[in-house]
């Protein structure tokens, strides 16, 4: 896939655990793990908004397009 998910990078930068993010965002750890691996079919704007809010970042910090 040309879209790369950099969630693990952002989590490392913020020194946050996946479980902690899961509690803040309200998305299960299983779903976040699947997202982290870039295996999800789609991501809702509301989920992206919550993640960005919890990690204090921009959508571009989490999602990256590679040619």
């Amino acid at each position: 896939m040309a879209i790369v998910v950099n969630l693990d990078v952002m989590l490392a930068k913020r020194k946050m655990k996946l479980k902690e993010l899961s509690e803040k965002v309200g998305v299960s750890t299983v779903n976040l793990s699947i997202l982290k691996q870039g295996k999800v079919k789609a991501i809702r704007f509301s989920t992206l908004d919550s993640i960005c809010l919890a990690l204090d970042c921009q959508p571009g910090d989490i999602l990256e397009h590679i040619k």
Partner: protein
């Protein structure tokens, strides 16, 4: 095997019809025994359905009293993660999670009782092939020869639930 099943159904219908005249007589020992055997067998199936150990019994091709449907679906998600995901999906669906075995990577869920059926057993097993996880679904009826399309519906419903859950 299917023709044997049809023959046994035909035989059962003839047997019930033949014994119908006896059935009309009160306290007939043959019919009472026959009746108790069917009820007993049904209760036996009802008790053992809630265990993964009896998967082979319900899904065996030699079990003529159940109907089963098998389907497969593969995802490029690790087996461990997919196992957790399916448990989550089942908990949020109309199916009821009965048992899960993390060592064998097997899940047993049951569907609700409807006018069409007594509820089906849904067995899910996981296999890894390269980077992919292959999920095998078995939907088997509890004690009925025709599922009225419920087995196929269970597999389709669960697959749809999995697909929609991959949008987070």
């Amino acid at each position: 095997m299917k023709s044997l099943k049809h023959i046994s159904v035909a035989f059962l219908i003839i047997l019930i019809s033949g014994l119908g005249t006896y059935y009309l007589k009160p306290n007939n020992p043959i019919m009472m025994t026959f009746h108790f055997l069917i009820v007993g067998f049904f209760i036996f199936n009802l008790i053992i359905r809630k265990s993964l150990s009896f998967k082979n019994y319900f899904t065996s091709q030699y079990n003529l009293f159940t109907t089963k449907v098998r389907s497969e679906k593969s995802y490029d998600i690790p087996k461990e993660l997919m196992f957790e995901k399916i448990i989550e999906v089942i908990n949020h669906s109309d199916f009821k999670l009965v048992e899960s075995d993390k060592d064998k990577f097997e899940i047993l869920a049951i569907s609700t009782i409807t006018f069409k059926s007594w509820g089906e057993n849904l067995y899910i097993s996981f296999e890894t092939k390269g980077n992919e996880t292959i999920m095998k679904f078995y939907s088997a009826t509890l004690f009925q020869i025709y599922s009225w399309g419920k087995n196929e519906k269970n597999c389709t419903d669960l697959l749809n639930e999995i697909e929609s859950s991959l949008t987070i």
